[in-house]
C-alpha cells in the first residue's frame, strides 16, 4: 500500500504537468495552423530555438534566470497556503533600487557597490511582497488580489521615478536611470554568456528546498499551508510565518530585478518590465511550488521564450506567438490542478491507498 500510494503521487506529479504541456502544444499547433504554418515545423523550430545549439541553450538559460527567482516569489508563500502573484512588482522595485543605489555609489569599490545593490534589491522586493502578507494577516485582505494590485502600484512608482526624479537627462527616447559604473556590473559566468543570476537562482532553490523540507521553520510553514487549525492547535503564531514566506519570496524576485539591471541592462528602464514576474507564476504552478522542480521548469519556459525570435524570422509568425503559447500553458496548467488525485481513482491497483473504514 505504501508503494501504490507513493506511485500514485509520483505518477500524478509527473504525468499531469506533462499532459498539460502536451495539450497546450496541441492547442498552440492549431493556433499556428490558422496562420498557415505547419505545426510540426513550428515545434521543430521551437526546439531548435530553445535547445538546438549552444547559443540557443545560453539564450534559454539567460531567460530562465529571472524566471527561477520570480517563481520563488509564488512558490514559497504557496507552501504556507498563500497565492501570491506579486513578483513583477518586487522585480520592478528591486531593479529600481539596485539602479538607484548603484548610481549613488558611483566611484566606490565595485564589490561593495554590488553587495549594497543586492541588499537594497532584496530588502525592497521582500518588503513589498511582505506588505501583501501583512494585509492578509492583520486585515484579512485577500493576498492574491493585494499582491496583484501592489504590482500596479509598483509599476506606476517605477515609471514615475524613472521618468521623473531618477531619470538620466541623457536618456532621450527611452527614459532610464543613469547607467551604473562598469565595475559595478555583474559579469557572466566564466566561459558562458549566462550571468550569475542563474547560479543565484539555483542556489536559492536549493536553500529554500532545505528550508521547507528540513528545518523547523519549514515544518511550521507546511503545517500552516496544510491546515491552519492544526497549526493553531500546535500553538504556532501564523503572522510571523506569513510575513517570512512573503518577504523571502519577494526578496528573490527583487534579486531578479538586480540581475536585470546589473547584469543585463546596466540601468533601470522599461526593458525590465517584460513580464518575468508574471511568467514566474506560471513556472511556480507548473513546478507545483516545489523549489527543486522550478529549475528545470524555468529552463523549459525560458526556452519557449527564447524560441520566439526564430519563429518570427523563419515562419513569419507574430512575435507574440510564444506569449500565446505561454497563455495557453497557464490555462492548461491551472485546469490540470483539478486532476490530482482523480487519476488515482481510476487505476484499480492504486485504489488501495484508501483503506475501508
Amino acid at each position: 500500500m505504501t508503494r501504490s500510494d507513493g506511485w500514485a503521487a509520483t505518477i500524478d506529479a509527473v504525468a499531469i504537468p506533462v499532459l498539460a504541456i502536451v495539450v497546450a502544444l496541441v492547442l498552440f499547433g492549431a493556433f499556428v495552423a490558422i496562420y498557415g504554418v505547419d505545426p510540426f515545423a513550428a515545434y521543430g523550430l521551437m526546439f531548435e530555438g530553445a535547445f538546438g545549439s549552444a547559443f540557443s541553450w545560453q539564450n534559454s538559460l539567460l531567460r530562465s534566470a529571472p524566471l527561477i527567482l520570480t517563481a520563488l516569489c509564488t512558490a514559497l508563500p504557496a507552501r504556507a497556503g498563500l497565492v501570491v502573484i506579486g513578483a513583477e512588482g518586487a522585480l520592478a522595485l528591486g531593479g529600481l533600487a539596485a539602479a538607484a543605489v548603484g548610481h549613488a555609489l558611483d566611484g566606490a569599490n565595485g564589490m561593495v557597490t554590488v553587495t549594497v545593490m543586492a541588499v537594497a534589491a532584496a530588502v525592497i522586493g521582500g518588503a513589498w511582497v511582505a506588505l501583501a502578507g501583512a494585509l492578509r494577516y492583520w486585515r484579512g485582505v485577500n493576498e492574491t488580489i493585494a499582491s496583484l494590485l501592489l504590482v500596479y502600484i509598483a509599476i506606476a512608482l517605477f515609471n514615475h521615478l524613472v521618468e521623473g526624479p531618477l531619470r538620466d537627462p541623457a536618456s532621450l527616447n527611452k527614459p532610464s536611470t543613469p547607467p551604473i559604473a562598469d565595475d559595478a556590473m555583474i559579469g557572466a559566468i566564466p566561459g558562458f554568456d549566462v550571468h550569475w543570476g542563474l547560479v543565484t537562482g539555483v542556489l536559492l532553490c536549493l536553500a529554500f528546498w532545505v528550508l521547507i523540507e528540513r528545518t523547523t521553520i519549514g515544518f511550521a510553514i507546511r503545517l500552516i499551508g496544510d491546515n491552519q487549525k492544526a497549526a493553531r492547535l500546535a500553538g504556532l503564531r501564523l503572522g510571523g510565518y506569513v510575513l517570512v514566506v512573503c518577504a523571502l519570496g519577494g526578496a528573490a524576485a527583487g534579486l531578479a530585478g538586480l540581475y536585470e539591471v546589473a547584469a543585463v541592462h546596466g540601468q533601470a528602464n522599461a526593458s525590465l518590465l517584460v513580464g518575468y514576474g508574471f511568467t514566474g507564476i506560471l513556472v511556480s504552478f507548473l513546478a507545483r511550488h516545489n523549489p527543486l522542480a522550478i529549475i528545470p521548469v524555468a529552463i523549459l519556459i525560458g526556452g519557449i521564450g527564447a524560441s520566439g525570435g526564430l519563429l518570427q524570422r523563419r515562419l513569419d509568425l507574430p512575435d507574440a506567438a510564444v506569449l500565446v503559447l505561454q497563455g495557453i500553458l497557464f490555462v492548461t496548467i491551472l485546469a490540470s490542478e483539478t486532476m490530482y488525485g482523480r487519476i488515482r481513482w481510476r487505476l484499480p491497483s492504486l485504489v488501495a491507498a484508501r483503506r475501508p473504514a
Binding site: R214, A230, R232, L233, A234, G235, R355
Partner: protein, 510 residues
C-alpha cells in the same frame, strides 16, 4: 412515489491489493425493513455499502435492486434507483443556507430556482418531519448534530426509497437519536422506506432495527431477526474471540489544586453571533469535569478558544494560575493535551505524513529537531513506537494521515496527545463514530490520565459517556454553564432537563 425498495447484495468480494476487505458477503435487506449492519472498525461495513452505492466496483458479486440485478457503476446510478446515503462526514455546502442545501441536492435542478415555489414546498415538507432545522441558517454555523439532521432531511426530501445511514446518531443526544430513528422506523413500517444502518450502538439496534447482519474482518459472521437475538450474542459475533479491554477502575482520590480556570470567557461563532457568553468553570487535578449539552450551545467554540483556534472576545483563561494564550511554550510548560472532535479537520494536517502529524506538538525540540534542523529519523522512530503502542493501522509512518480510516486518525491523534502523560487534558466528543473496542480504549486512556493526576475537561454530547467517566457534570446551555453537580447521586433526567434549558427551578439543588 412507489414504496420501499429491497436490496440484495450477493456474494460480494472486494479486494484492495492483497487486502480482502469483503469476502463473499451476502446480505438481504427486505423492502420496508430497518436493517442494522454491525461490525468493528475495518470489518468491511463501509466497503459493503460503498459497493452498493457504486463508489467501489466489487471483484465478485451482484447487487439485486427490487427483483432485478443491477449494475451500479457510480453513485448517480444508485440515486437514480432511489438509493441514498447519509455519510459519517458531512456533505453540506458550508456557505449555503439549509434551504439552499436541501434544494441544491435535487438532481434536476432548474437553471433558475423559483424560490417562491420552492419555499412553500420546503416548509410543507418540514412540517411533516418530527424535528426542525433552521432553514435560513448557514450550514457552516450549525453544530454537528444539526448538520446530521439536515443530511437525513436532505435524503428524505429527495424521496429516497432505500436509505443507507453510516453511524447517523453519533452526534445526536439520546433523545434526538430516538426521535430521528423513531421517525425513520415509522417510515419503514409505513412501507415508504427501507433503512440499512451502520451502527455500533446495540441499544439502537434493539430498539429500532428489525434485522441485523454482523460483519467481522470482511466476512458475514451472523445475523437474523433482532427479536431472536440479544446484545451478548451480537457482541460475541462482532468481536469474535477477542475480549473488550477491562474497564479501568477509577482511583478514589480527592481532587487536587485548580489546574484550569476559565473566567467569564466569551467568543463568537462563525457567523459573528455570540456563542460563548461569559462562561466560567474550574477543573482540578485528578478529576474529570464533564460538560453536557445539546450540540450548538457553544461547546465547539469553547473548545476552539481553548485550542487557540478562535479568539476570545472577553474573559481569561488561567492554567496553574497563569494566564494562558495557547502559545507553544505555554502548552509545553503546562503539559496540555487536546483532543478535538473531527480530528482530521481540527487537529491534523491531512497531507502531511502520520509521523509528521504525530510530531506536531514537539517538532521543534529534541529529539525531533536539533537547533533549527529537523531530524526525520526521529519523527519516524517516535511514530513507529506510538503506532504500535496505540495500534494505529497505517501502511507506514510516512503515509499521508488522510489515507487512514476515521478510527485510526483518532488513534493517531490520541497517541500524539497522550503519548506523554498530560497535566491538563481537554477532550471533545472523543468517540464520535468509533466502535466498542476503540471507545473502551479511549475511555480507559481518559480515566488513566485522571488517575495519574491530570485535570480533565470532557465535552460530550453523549450523556452515557459523561456518566461513565465524569466526576462532576456541568451543563452548557446558550453559551453558559447553567447547572453543575457531582455525578454521584445525580439522575440523567435532571441533567437532561437543564440541557433543554428548563432547569432554573432546580438551581438550588446544584
Amino acid at each position: 412515489m412507489t414504496g420501499a425498495l429491497g436490496i440484495e447484495a450477493v456474494a460480494m468480494t472486494k479486494r484492495f491489493g492483497d487486502f480482502v476487505a469483503l469476502d463473499d458477503v451476502t446480505i438481504r435487506v427486505r423492502p420496508g425493513s430497518f436493517h442494522a449492519l454491525l461490525g468493528e472498525n475495518g470489518a468491511g461495513k463501509s466497503t459493503l455499502v460503498k459497493c452498493i452505492m457504486g463508489y467501489y466496483r466489487p471483484e465478485e458479486g451482484q447487487v439485486i435492486v427490487g427483483d432485478r440485478e443491477r449494475e451500479i457503476a457510480n453513485p448517480r446510478q444508485a440515486h437514480g434507483l432511489g438509493i441514498g446515503m447519509v455519510y459519517q462526514h458531512f456533505t453540506l455546502v458550508p456557505n449555503m443556507t439549509v434551504a439552499e442545501n436541501l434544494v441544491l441536492a435535487q438532481p434536476d435542478l432548474p437553471a433558475v430556482i423559483d424560490w417562491r415555489k420552492e419555499r412553500p414546498r420546503l416548509e410543507a415538507f418540514l412540517a411533516q418531519m418530527p424535528f426542525k432545522v433552521p432553514l435560513d441558517r448557514v450550514a457552516s454555523s450549525l453544530a454537528a448534530g444539526e448538520k446530521q439532521k439536515v443530511e437525513i432531511l436532505k435524503q428524505l426530501y429527495l424521496d429516497r426509497r432505500f436509505l443507507i445511514l453510516d453511524e447517523p446518531t453519533s452526534v445526536l443526544t439520546p433523545a434526538e437519536a430516538d426521535e430521528v430513528l423513531g421517525l425513520l422506523q415509522r417510515m419503514t413500517r409505513a412501507g415508504r422506506l427501507t433503512i440499512l444502518m451502520i451502527t455500533h450502538k446495540f441499544r439502537e439496534v434493539m430498539a429500532f432495527a428489525d434485522e441485523v447482519s454482523v460483519l467481522r474482518r470482511g466476512k458475514l459472521v451472523g445475523g437474523g431477526l433482532v427479536t431472536e437475538l440479544d446484545t451478548d450474542r451480537m457482541a460475541a459475533m462482532m468481536v469474535g474471540e477477542a475480549a473488550l479491554p477491562q474497564p479501568k477502575s477509577r482511583n478514589e482520590q480527592p481532587a487536587g489544586a485548580v489546574r484550569l480556570r476559565i473566567d467569564s470567557i466569551s467568543a463568537l461563532d462563525d457567523g459573528g453571533q455570540p456563542a460563548v457568553r461569559g462562561l466560567s468553570l474550574e477543573v482540578r487535578a485528578g478529576e474529570i469535569l464533564g460538560i453536557a449539552g445539546v450540540s450548538g450551545n457553544g461547546q465547539r467554540e469553547l473548545v476552539e478558544v481553548l485550542a487557540g483556534q478562535r479568539p476570545a472576545t472577553g474573559g481569561k483563561i488561567l492554567v496553574d494560575g497563569q494566564p494562558f494564550h495557547a502559545r507553544r511554550d505555554q502548552i509545553r510548560r503546562h503539559r496540555i493535551a487536546l483532543l478535538p472532535e473531527e480530528p482530521l479537520r481540527n487537529a491534523c494536517a491531512p497531507n502531511l505524513t502520520v509521523a509528521e502529524n504525530m510530531g506536531l506538538r514537539r517538532f521543534d525540540i529534541a529529539p525531533y529537531a536539533r537547533g533549527p534542523w529537523l531530524k526525520p529519523s526521529a519523527f519516524r522512530e517516535a511514530a513507529t513506537g506510538l503506532i504500535s503502542r496505540y495500534r494505529v493501522k497505517t501502511p507506514s509512518p510516512l503515509a499521508p494521515i488522510k489515507a487512514l480510516s476515521g478510527g485510526n486518525i483518532q488513534r493517531a491523534v490520541l497517541a500524539r496527545e497522550l503519548g506523554e502523560p498530560p497535566s491538563l487534558l481537554i477532550v471533545a466528543n472523543p468517540v464520535f463514530g468509533l466502535d466498542f473496542q476503540a471507545v473502551a480504549e479511549i475511555h480507559n486512556q481518559i480515566i488513566e490520565a485522571r488517575n495519574l493526576g491530570a485535570a480533565v475537561l470532557l465535552i460530550s454530547e453523549d450523556l452515557d459517556e459523561l456518566f461513565e467517566l465524569a466526576d462532576r457534570i456541568a451543563v452548557m446551555f446558550a453559551g453558559r454553564i447553567v447547572h453543575e453537580t457531582a455525578v454521584a447521586g445525580t439522575r440523567p433526567t435532571e441533567i437532561g432537563r437543564h440541557m433543554a434549558g428548563h432547569g432554573e427551578d432546580a438551581h438550588e439543588a446544584a
